[in-house]
Symmetry: C2
Subunit: 217 residues, 2 copies
């Protein structure tokens, strides 16, 4: 697959089938992921693939609790706004995200594979998210849908206990990627165009190009 | 370019020529970058391309100060270890990173383009590093070398002043990517293999595959 197709069409694919992800595909995903850069090339990361149904069943209820907390806190305003004026464009966009995220919570136990990323004594995230994003792009090339979720951060300690993470050595969970064969179709996700969110040389100054539509396909 | 070639060969390319990066390439890089996912698809990000020599000249000395602080703090142990035993494999690996990073500091003013990423009231980094990594992958496909640096975080306020960032609205710098035509060659960077840093279902448990060499090319 062409790099541009991967970059444009690897959107959050939360709705996946329960079919397992073959081991050779998992291996290629991880082999690609660890090529990502990390600060000082320290590679101070660990990854965990979780496909044990018992482990997933332990995390599922925790995920749903965390998701509920997220809707009540960080996204409370958007939840309320979408309820107040469901036909507004912003409400519709948020409802799409809401439904997709809630699908993952409701169906957590049917997802065949999760990839957890861990860092040690790292707070910026700059040395783990490139690798997790590479994993998602590599998955896309294999026809596997993926979505990064930070929701479990709300119940960080519970998850770390289940997975046996040595927190006394400074290891912590940076994120969790759900993986599986998508039920929906690939496509370019709706985004603000680059010139709407980019400046040149000074905050607020035009970036110097303007493209009304995505440049791919 | 195939996605796998991009994922395997987009390593930190700090040594670049002073030749400018054409505007249409900058546009394609940014157009691809904004397709990356962000938490709740909020796209609560801003980007800034900096190619004004005067702005770059203002940041250069700050970057060198910050780099010096980094060697004296976070990397002090590795600097000392490399000096003590320069022929050890670890020392050689570190010295490569050191020389490359110091090259960027010493030659900051010759780099033709920098891409800054900003987030608002975000601490995890999960909603900006995928986009910055996408920018680097898109740059790779155009033959442009890139490297994410967090070094300026040491002098965060100075940089934000120069670039006019509205910190009173909660905006902060997440990272800076240097961009330019590389002086060196592309290649697969040395990394620990996936099975050495990956577990399955429980910390410390084998991931279930083992590959002595990168699976690409």
């Amino acid at each position: 697959m062409d790099i541009r197709e991967a970059l444009y069409t690897t959107r959050a694919m939360r709705r996946v089938k329960p079919d397992p992800v073959p081991m050779d595909i998992q291996e290629r995903i991880m082999d690609a992921a660890v090529r990502a850069p990390s600060g000082g090339n320290t590679q101070n990361w660990r990854f965990m693939l979780v496909d044990d149904k018992e482990v997933i069943a332990e995390i599922g209820p925790i995920y749903r609790t965390a998701m509920g907390l997220l809707w009540q806190t960080l996204y409370a305003e958007r939840v309320a706004a979408a309820a107040d004026d469901p036909d507004a464009e912003e409400s519709k966009a948020f409802t799409r995200v809401y439904n997709s995220a809630q699908w993952l919570a409701d169906n957590f136990e049917t997802v065949p594979l999760f990839l957890f990323g861990f860092t040690q004594n790292d707070t910026s995230g700059s040395s783990i998210y490139p690798a997790l994003w590479s994993a998602q792009l590599a998955a896309r090339a294999e026809g596997i849908g993926a979505s990064l979720t930070q929701v479990l951060a709300f119940q960080h300690d519970d998850v770390l206990n289940i997975l046996g993470i040595p927190t006394d050595q400074g290891w912590g969970m940076a994120g969790c990627v759900s993986l599986g064969y998508p039920t929906g179709k690939w496509g370019v996700a709706a985004r603000q165009q680059a010139h709407e969110v980019s400046f040149r040389n000074q905050w607020g100054e035009p970036v110097g190009f303007e493209t009304p539509e995505p440049l791919w396909p």
